[in-house]
C-alpha cells in the first residue's frame, strides 16, 4: 500500500522551557491510501494535539518541537508539511487534508450562512471558479451528506447538532482532499446518529477514495469502522495493529483495558474497567513506562526504562507494533 501521510518522530509541547507540557512524544505513524486509521486513547492522551499539529493548527502555547510530516502527492516528490511557507501551507490545508473538528457544534461561524462558509473555501482555493459553479458544488456537497440543498441559506443556529456535523463533513470533502481527519466527530451526537453518520462516511470514502484518520476515545467504534488502530497513552503511541488484531488479541495492557471498558456516550471521563487511576499528568510523567502506575501487569523493568514501540516478540508479530516490556526482550531478562 502506498503511504499518503508519513508522520515521523513528531513532538509537540504546550509552553516553552521548563514549564513545557510534552503532549505528543516521538510519534511515528503512517497513513496509507484509502484506509481508515483509528486513533484511540483516553481523553487527554494527546490525540487532538497530534491531529492539529500535523498542519500546524495548534493555538499558542502549542509548539512543534521536532519531527516531520511527509506528504506524498499523487504524482510528485514527497515533501514535509511542517517545512512549508505560510502561503504554501494555506494552499495545502483543506485541499490535501481536511479536518472535522472535535467541537463540531462550534465549528461553524455563527454569523454567516452555511452557503457562505462552504463557498469561501472554494473562493480561497479555486479562485477561477465562477460564483455559480461554487454554489452548485456547495449544494452538491450538502446533498452528498444528506442535507436538503434548500438549507444553503440557513444560519448555523437554525440547524440541529447532527445537521451541523454533516455540514462540517460536507465542507471537509468539498475540495476532494486525500486525507480527512475526524476528531471525535460523534461525541455530541446520540448513538443512533453516530452510527448513521459514520456509516455514511465510510460509504463516501469508498466512493471518493480518501484516507481517514479517525479519532475517538471509544475503541468499540473503531473496531467496527477502521482498518488499523493506533492506541495513544500519555502522548505516545503504545500499540498499533490491524483493527481485527487489536480486537482479537491486544498486547498492551492499556489497549486491553480500553477494550473492556464502555466509555460513557457523551465522552465524559470515566475510569477504565479494571484499570484504576486517571490519565497521567503530562507535566510530571512517571519514569519508565508511563502506564506503569496503573498497569495491572507491571514488573521490574517497567518503572525504570521506557519501552520502545516496535515489532512484538511473538510469532504473528508482523504488521503490528507495541510498546510494552511484556512483548519485548526486557533489560532485566538479559
Amino acid at each position: 500500500m502506498e503511504p499518503v501521510l508519513d508522520i515521523r518522530n513528531l513532538n509537540v509541547d504546550y509552553g516553552l522551557g521548563d514549564k513545557a507540557v510534552h503532549a505528543v512524544r516521538d510519534v511515528s505513524l503512517t497513513l496509507h491510501r484509502g484506509e481508515v486509521l483509528g486513533l484511540a486513547g483516553e481523553s487527554g492522551s494527546g490525540k487532538s494535539t497530534l491531529a492539529y499539529g500535523l498542519t500546524r493548527l495548534l493555538a499558542p502555547p502549542g509548539v512543534i518541537t521536532g519531527g516531520e510530516v511527509i506528504y506524498h502527492p499523487p504524482d510528485d516528490e514527497p515533501y514535509d508539511v511542517l517545512g512549508l511557507s505560510d502561503r504554501a501551507l494555506r494552499q495545502f490545508r483543506w485541499a490535501e487534508t481536511a479536518i472535522v473538528f472535535q467541537g463540531a457544534m462550534n465549528s461553524l461561524n455563527p454569523v454567516h450562512k452555511v452557503s457562505t462558509q462552504l463557498t469561501d473555501v472554494l473562493k480561497a482555493h479555486e479562485p477561477r471558479m465562477s460564483d455559480h459553479a461554487r454554489k452548485a458544488r456547495a449544494r452538491e456537497m450538502l446533498k452528498l451528506v444528506g442535507i436538503s440543498p434548500d438549507r444553503m441559506d440557513a444560519y448555523p443556529h437554525q440547524l440541529s447538532g447532527g445537521m451541523r456535523q454533516r455540514v462540517m463533513i460536507g465542507m471537509a470533502l468539498i475540495l476532494r482532499p486525500r486525507v480527512v481527519i475526524m476528531d471525535e466527530p460523534t461525541t455530541a451526537l446520540d448513538v443512533v446518529m453516530q452510527r448513521q453518520i459514520l456509516g455514511q462516511l465510510i460509504e463516501l470514502r469508498e466512493r471518493l477514495g480518501f484516507s481517514v484518520i479517525f479519532i475517538t476515545h471509544d475503541l468499540s467504534l473503531l473496531v467496527e469502522f477502521s482498518n488499523r488502530i493506533a492506541i495513544m497513552y500519555g502522548g505516545r503511541i503504545v500499540e498499533e495493529a490491524p483493527a481485527a488484531t487489536i480486537y482479537r488479541d491486544a498486547l498492551h495492557p492499556y489497549s486491553k483495558g480500553l477494550l473492556s471498558s464502555f466509555p460513557a456516550l457523551r465522552g465524559a471521563r470515566r475510569e477504565l474497567a479494571g484499570i484504576p487511576g486517571s490519565p497521567p499528568d503530562l507535566a510530571g510523567m512517571p519514569a519508565g513506562c508511563s502506564f506503569h502506575p496503573r498497569c495491572p501487569r507491571a514488573f521490574e523493568p517497567c518503572a525504570g526504562e521506557i519501552p520502545v514501540l516496535g515489532r512484538p516478540d511473538t510469532p504473528d508479530g508482523a504488521g503490528r507494533s507495541v510498546a510494552c516490556w511484556l512483548s519485548h526482550p526486557h533489560p532485566g531478562a538479559r
Binding site: 493548527l57 493555538a59 490545508r93 461553524l108 455563527p110 454567516h112 469561501d120
Partner: protein, 326 residues
Amino acid sequence: MKYFLQRMGFYLFTAWAAITLNFFIPRLVPGDPVQSLIAKYQGQLSTKSIASLYVLFGLDKHQSLWTQYVDYWKQIFHGDLGLSFTFFPAPVSQVIGQALPWTVLLVGITTIISFTLGTGLGVLAGWRRGSWADGLLPVTTFFSSVPYFWLGILAIYLLAGPDSFFPSSGGFDSELVPAWDQYFIPSAIQHSLLPALTILISSVSGWILSMRNMMVTVSSEDYITVAHAKGLPERRVALSYAARNALLPSVSGFALALGFIVGGTLLVEIVFSYPGLGFTLLQAVGAKDYPLMQGIFLIITIAVLVANLLADVAYLLLDPRTRKEG
C-alpha cells in the same frame, strides 16, 4: 422582530421610569426652590405659565399625588416643560430645541467616529498580539483615565487662542447668524474640531481595549481554527470570522456605554462653551433654573434611548441569531 419589539418595550418602560423619576425628584425635596423663583419673577409670569410650573413641580399641595401625576403626564405629552428662568421668558422646549442639534451632531458624529476607529485599532491589536498595536494600550489607558473636560482645558490651553486656527469657545463665529450657508457651516465645523478631538481622544481607548479583548477571546473559538484549517486568507479569517463575531458584544456594549459617554461629553461642551445641551445645563445649574435642568435631563435620556434603539437595530442586522427563526 420579536427581539425588536421586546427592546422597544424595554425602552418605553425606561422612558416611563425616567419621566416618573423626574416627577418625583422635586417632590421629595423639602423647600420649594421653584416657588421662590416664581415669587421673584412675580408679575412677569403669565397665569398659564405659573399653572404649568405648579403642575411640573407639584407646588399645589392640595392635590393628591395621583392627580398630580396624571396632570404631569398630560403636560409632558403636550411638550410643555415649563418656562426657563435663565432664558426668561423662553419656554424650556424652545431652549432645548436650539441646543439639541449642536449636541446631537457633535456627540453623535464624534462617538461614531470614535467607535469605528477604536474598533478598527482594537481588531489590529487583538489579532496581532505583540505587534505595534499593543503599544497603543498604555497610551490609551492614560487618556481614558483623564477626565474629558480636563483634556478639553488642556486642548484649549495648548492649541487654541486668538492667533490659532482653533477657536477656543462657541459653536460658530459670533459675527455670523446660524444658517445653512457657505459662511456658517465651515465656521461651525471649525469650532467643533477641538471639542470633537477631545471627545475622540478620551473615548477611543475604551473601544480599542474592549475590541482587543473580544478579539483575543474570539480568536480561540473553534470556528477560527476551522477558518485557518480551511486555508482561508489571513484577512478573511481576521475580519470575516474573528472581527465580525467580536463586533457583536462591542455593539451591544456601545448601547450600554452611551449613558456613560454622554456624561463626559456634556462636560466638554461646557469647557468649550459649545452651544449644546451640556453648556445649557451648566447655565441652568448656575441660575438654579430647575425647569430647564429637568427638561434637559429628560431630553438627554430620550436621546440616549433612541441611540440605544439604533444600536439595537444594528445588532439585529449583525447577528442572525436575533432574527426571526426560519
